[in-house]
């Protein structure tokens, strides 16, 4: 087994463990490369099927191509696709692009709050109806007790502290200082009523591993990751008002891998194009409030 085989096997094991142990389970799909690799790993784990609902939080400021991509593969791969949103804030234009609040508050409203209430079932969930090929309001309102998230330990300091199975209390709070032990491959799969567990199958992957796996498996990813002639590409995808492209000539996956290994990005943080991280407190403050 090479290093990608080992990473794949461990992620598949974690996904199967989650599927076995959690009755109400979902997987967050941000449409980015990491959670798309995670979705692919689910197809590996379940032999071509994805028996876990996929949840996307639509901020309505996502780059349009991301939504097209989401819906195309939701249909093609027969996914149980669900999205949620913060309709109140969007209707009231309480967003950063509308000029009414700062970036971090905008993230909190459009992502963290929307996610929290979509997971709990308090806010409407929209499910892809494969016959009508469009979203309908989902009748299922059961809270998800297991949430599979594609964070990687190498992304940023706070994420390096995560467990594969990480408990959150009823207020979504992550007690970094008091986490359960994980012995060998035995994880925390028992949880008290009212709490939930976040599951992190990609924890050991690096940005480079992700691209190497995309190359090996020929996983389709959003074309925004590639330079399409203008000499720019996205390294990390988010909402268009807060995500900057990077200058790059990389047009193919092997070129991206080369760029990460020895080229211009070998020593620059991946999320450097995400403006919200630069604000005071940044990602860690967001994560404590339930940001993924």
């Amino acid at each position: 087994m090479d290093h990608l085989d080992k990473l794949e096997a461990q992620s598949v094991y974690i996904l199967r463990e989650a599927y076995r142990e959690f009755k109400s389970l979902c997987m967050l799909w941000s449409i980015g490369k990491d959670s798309t690799v995670m979705l692919w790993l689910a197809r590996k784990a379940f032999f071509g099927h994805v028996p876990i609902p996929l949840v996307h939080i639509d901020t309505h400021y996502k780059i349009p191509e991301m939504i097209e991509y989401r819906d195309r593969f939701a249909l093609e791969w027969n996914l149980n696709m669900i999205y949620g949103e913060n309709s109140e804030v969007l209707a009231g234009k309480l967003t950063f692009p509308d000029g009414n609040i700062d970036r971090l508050t905008c993230c909190k409203y459009l992502k963290s709050e929307a996610l929290k209430h979509t997971l709990s079932g308090e806010w409407p969930r929209y499910r892809m109806d494969h016959e009508q090929r469009r979203y309908v309001v989902d009748e299922g309102r059961e809270p998800y007790t297991g949430v599979i998230v594609g964070v990687r330990a190498d992304e940023e300091g706070s994420r390096s502290k995560e467990r594969y199975f990480s408990p959150r209390d009823k207020d979504n709070v992550w007690d970094v200082g008091d986490q359960p032990p994980e012995f060998w491959n035995q994880f925390k799969t028992d949880f008290a009523p009212g709490t939930h567990v976040r599951i992190h199958p990609l924890l050991d992957w690096t940005e480079q591993n992700i691209w190497e796996y995309i190359e090996r498996e020929k996983i389709p990813v959003v074309s925004l990751y590639f330079n399409q002639g203008a000499g720019i590409r996205y390294r990390s995808l988010g909402c268009y008002p807060c995500t900057n492209s990077v200058t790059s000539d990389a047009q193919t996956v092997p070129e991206i891998i080369e760029e990460l290994k020895s080229g211009k990005f070998s020593n620059i943080a991946e999320r450097s194009g995400r403006a919200q991280d630069a604000e005071d407190g940044g990602l860690e403050t967001l994560r404590r409030d339930g940001y993924m």
Partner: protein
């Protein structure tokens, strides 16, 4: 594509002995830090007027910096010419033992850091022992802060001798000892000129000499069944046995045996998604199989090859355990055991001895296992599970114990003790010795009822028609003037067993309650009839035991799923209900349970 090898290493040792500094050094000296990180930390130190430390590089979290101790396992990555490393920083502070375990149980090798000036401390010892129990075989000891002891060879040799003597008591032999100064960089990436007396490898050289575990796939095949998948709704009729190969290799066509159920089949195919067709699979691979026959197996069984050395099957075993739970481990409390893919209710049956890792003293008198104790004890599961002793196969000889939703302890199985009296046998003996009988004897009851009492269990696949037969039998016996009663198990779920939804071993407890109920109803003279889907040998043996001293009669419908147990009657499925009923009634007559039966 980079085919570079990767290795997980863990850095352990007593608090303040310099683990984080070693890591900071390894990152900096291999050029593995993000651009500008080193400068940023130096700048922040300058602004706050405190001396720069390599340890600060790891202090990614705010509250960690505030406390000044590494609170959790952080992961970081560095590369040498030989391979990529993932360092798992394991905190030395005693409060964070469970974080240390989490880190170390994923590591293939360890660096154990001891402050040469301060010497061997409590966690130097405890961590050394933990490495051994966790199965980390390659341990190198770093005698750190050599600059504080004037790079003295004498100090180093003394520490080496003392610590080697300690490790020898627990049968651990370290790979090497290296004198270093992580702060100054001596013997980390480059050999130190200030310790010319030292002729060994630098830390980086030593790391590159560690080997990855290659032996596993040559061991007997072990496959803990993680789950059974059938995605019928997505038009997929494959019934796939899924899991990760713990050891050994299996090929298409190989005979396989499932334990503890004892069912046999053979590999029809190795399943996978988006790969070339596979003919075999080996240790470490997350795999799936279809079998040549449709047998009913459950998650938690261990699939092995009958031709190879067999694992143990049992419910009572001697273990080495370490406890990290808030509450101590006590006797007669129900815990949940997770071993491989098996889950079972478990009780602490006996404490043989406990070891205080800080001073290596044994105690034989402790009545409980406290947090941070290492103990040898006897555990007993509610039903048999398949496992290996740790000396035979490490990966299937490890377990954890869950107490109140939390993993509270972990350990390794040393010996199978299943020949002794089980807790269940003991329970039944106690129950029968103390049974308060009424004044009516069972023979009197039988003579008035004109039939004897019996517990009749129908089993077979779900929906094989056994419930129809069971109900028809009840009706037939009733019309013949007998006291027969049919109980649907679903009624128990909503009644007697309604509290079991969140029970740690709901299946085991359901079975126990059914057996106890049968004991009462047969004592009342009834012919008590029920049905169980796919009962296995263990289920029936348990019911039989619980129903003692009264009798049980087992009718199997359709394919026989038992491995050894011989049902009293085999009835074909899909036949007429009346025929099946008269077969059972005929047997009841032969066994003199009833005298006559008229249709």
């Amino acid at each position: 594509m980079s085919g570079r090898a990767q290795m997980n290493i863990v850095i352990v040792g007593h608090v303040d002995h310099g683990k984080s500094t070693v890591i900071g050094r390894l990152l900096a000296d291999t050029g593995s830090l993000p651009q500008g990180k080193l400068e940023a930390v130096r700048e922040s130190c300058r602004r706050n007027s405190k001396p720069f430390e390599y340890a600060f590089l790891l202090d990614a979290l705010k509250d960690e910096q505030a406390q000044g101790i590494t609170i959790d396992m952080a992961r970081c990555f560095f590369k040498t010419a030989a391979r990529d490393y993932i360092i798992i920083d394991a905190p030395g502070h005693i409060e964070f033992l469970k974080n240390m375990i989490t880190g170390a149980s994923r590591a293939e090798s360890a660096l154990l850091v001891i402050d040469a000036d301060e010497g061997i401390k409590e966690n130097s010892k405890r961590h050394g022992q933990m490495m051994s129990m966790l199965g980390v075989k390659q341990v190198t000891v770093l005698a750190n802060k050599m600059d504080r002891v004037n790079f003295s060879e004498e100090v180093f040799e003394k520490l080496k001798a003392d610590y080697t003597a300690f490790l020898a008591q627990i049968n651990v032999t370290p790979v090497s000892f290296i004198p270093v100064s992580a702060r100054e960089g001596d013997n980390i990436a480059t050999i130190s000129e200030r310790m010319a007396w030292y002729k060994g490898a630098t830390v980086l050289e030593q790391l590159d000499q560690f080997t990855s575990d290659k032996e596993l796939h040559e061991k007997p095949f072990r496959f803990p069944v993680q789950d059974i998948y059938k995605f019928t709704r997505s038009n997929d009729d494959r019934r796939i046995v899924a899991g990760t190969v713990a050891a050994g290799t299996v090929r298409v066509g190989d005979e396989v045996l499932f334990l503890p159920s004892g069912k046999k089949s053979a590999i029809q195919s190795v399943e996978s998604f988006n790969t070339a067709p596979k003919q075999q699979t080996s240790s470490g691979e997350a795999s799936g199989f279809t079998l040549t026959t449709q047998i009913y197996v459950r998650p938690g069984e261990l699939m092995v090859k009958p031709a190879e050395p067999q694992p143990e099957v049992g419910s009572r075993f001697r273990v080495n355990i370490f406890w990290v739970g808030r509450a101590p481990m006590i006797r007669n409390k129900e815990y949940k055991l997770k071993l491989g893919s098996a889950r079972a209710m478990v009780k602490l049956a006996e404490i043989c001895n406990t070891l205080d890792a800080s001073d290596l003293t044994y105690s034989k008198s402790k009545q409980q296992i406290d947090c941070r104790d290492v103990g040898e004890c006897i555990l007993e599961t509610s039903r048999p599970i398949a496992f290996d002793t740790t000396s035979a196969s490490e990966t299937t000889g490890r377990f954890v114990i869950v107490d109140n939703y939390e993993i509270a302890g972990g350990g390794v199985v040393v010996e199978n003790l299943s020949a002794g009296e089980t807790l269940l046998q003991h329970h039944i003996k106690e129950r029968e010795n103390n049974w308060e009988a009424g004044l009516v004897r069972s023979e009197q009851r039988a003579s008035v009822n004109r039939h004897r009492a019996k517990f009749i269990v129908f089993t077979g696949a779900a929906e094989c028609g056994k419930r129809l037969v069971a109900k028809a039998l009840e009706e037939g016996l009733f019309h013949n003037g007998m006291n027969a009663y049919y109980l649907g198990l679903a009624n128990l779920d909503r009644g007697l067993d309604a509290d079991l939804r969140s029970h740690s071993d709901s299946a085991g407890e359901r079975l126990r309650r059914l057996g106890e109920l049968a004991r009462i109803l047969t004592d009342a003279g009834l012919i008590f009839i029920t049905t169980i889907d796919d009962a296995d040998d263990y289920d029936i043996e348990t019911l039989k035991l619980l129903n003692e001293p009264n009798d049980i009669l087992v009718v199997n419908m359709g394919e026989n799923g038992f491995s050894c147990y011989q049902p009293d009657l085999q009835v074909p499925d899909g036949g007429a209900v009346a025929e099946a009923v008269s077969l059972v009634a005929g047997l009841l007559k032969i066994k003199e349970i009833i005298l006559d039966y008229q249709i």
